[in-house]
């Protein structure tokens, strides 16, 4: 299981200024109050989760890239064995539209 980074009690906090829309601020305040958190705590947690999701997505995409690259076996496609042959194959197909 993953832990939420950047939101530990030991980490030093710094004061910062952000701009929110009125409706978003209201929604955050409602949610934060319900869960007994301050606005800052709520936003720190939201930002940490966002970073975590980005990192997870990047890991998934890295895995996808590893699966995709090399998935075409040139033994099945002598017509794709180099750049010249590939560009010729594509061009021939496109010329059929004429």
């Amino acid at each position: 299981m993953r832990t939420i980074p950047y939101a530990t009690d030991e980490d030093e906090t710094v004061r910062t200024q952000i701009t929110l829309t009125t409706s978003l601020k209201k929604a955050i305040e409602e949610k934060a109050t319900k869960s007994g958190q301050s606005l800052s705590e709520y936003l720190r947690r939201a930002a940490s989760l966002s970073i975590l999701l980005d990192e997870q997505e990047r890991e998934n995409l890295t895995e996808l890239a590893q699966i995709a690259i090399g998935s075409v076996d040139l033994k099945n496609h002598p017509q794709w064995s180099n750049k010249t042959k590939v560009t010729r194959w594509v061009k021939t197909m496109r010329s059929e539209w004429q």
Partner: protein
């Protein structure tokens, strides 16, 4: 600032997916950085040459990325490019025009192994062979 979208031409996809350098490294970066966008023309061309197994992997590659259909906007713009360049005595192939139109409407750069087929000034064409790392 968001990273630039890249639309790979069929030739780039084939070269990259068959692990031919430097195209495979470029494609890998575009996947990981979520920069990819596909043209339905390119998808059809690739699938018409792929085996069943290759099709399966390719379809999983498409999942996280947008696929641009040949809708009315793309069709009109593609036809405009074809006519415009024909009057300048440059005969462009219609699939090339449709791919270029997809790039234009999505503001994506085109990655192709054959840049001379895309003399269209309205789009950005990446010259990958001169970017070998």
């Amino acid at each position: 600032m968001a990273m630039k979208l890249v639309l790979p031409d069929t030739n780039i996809l084939i070269l990259a997916l068959s692990n031919q350098k430097p195209y495979s490294s470029f494609l890998s970066s575009w996947i990981i950085d979520k920069q990819l966008i596909f043209s339905s023309v390119v998808v059809a061309e690739f699938l018409s040459g792929a085996t069943d197994e290759e099709e399966k992997v390719f379809l999983s590659l498409l999942k996280p990325f947008p696929i641009i259909p040949v809708d009315l906007t793309v069709a009109q713009l593609g036809a405009y490019y074809r006519k415009k360049y024909l009057t300048q005595k440059t005969k462009l192939m219609l699939p090339d025009c449709l791919i270029a139109a997809s790039c234009k409407v999505t503001k994506a750069a085109l990655a192709t192994a054959d840049p001379k087929d895309f003399p269209i000034k309205e789009i950005e064409v990446l010259h990958l062979d001169s970017k070998v790392t």
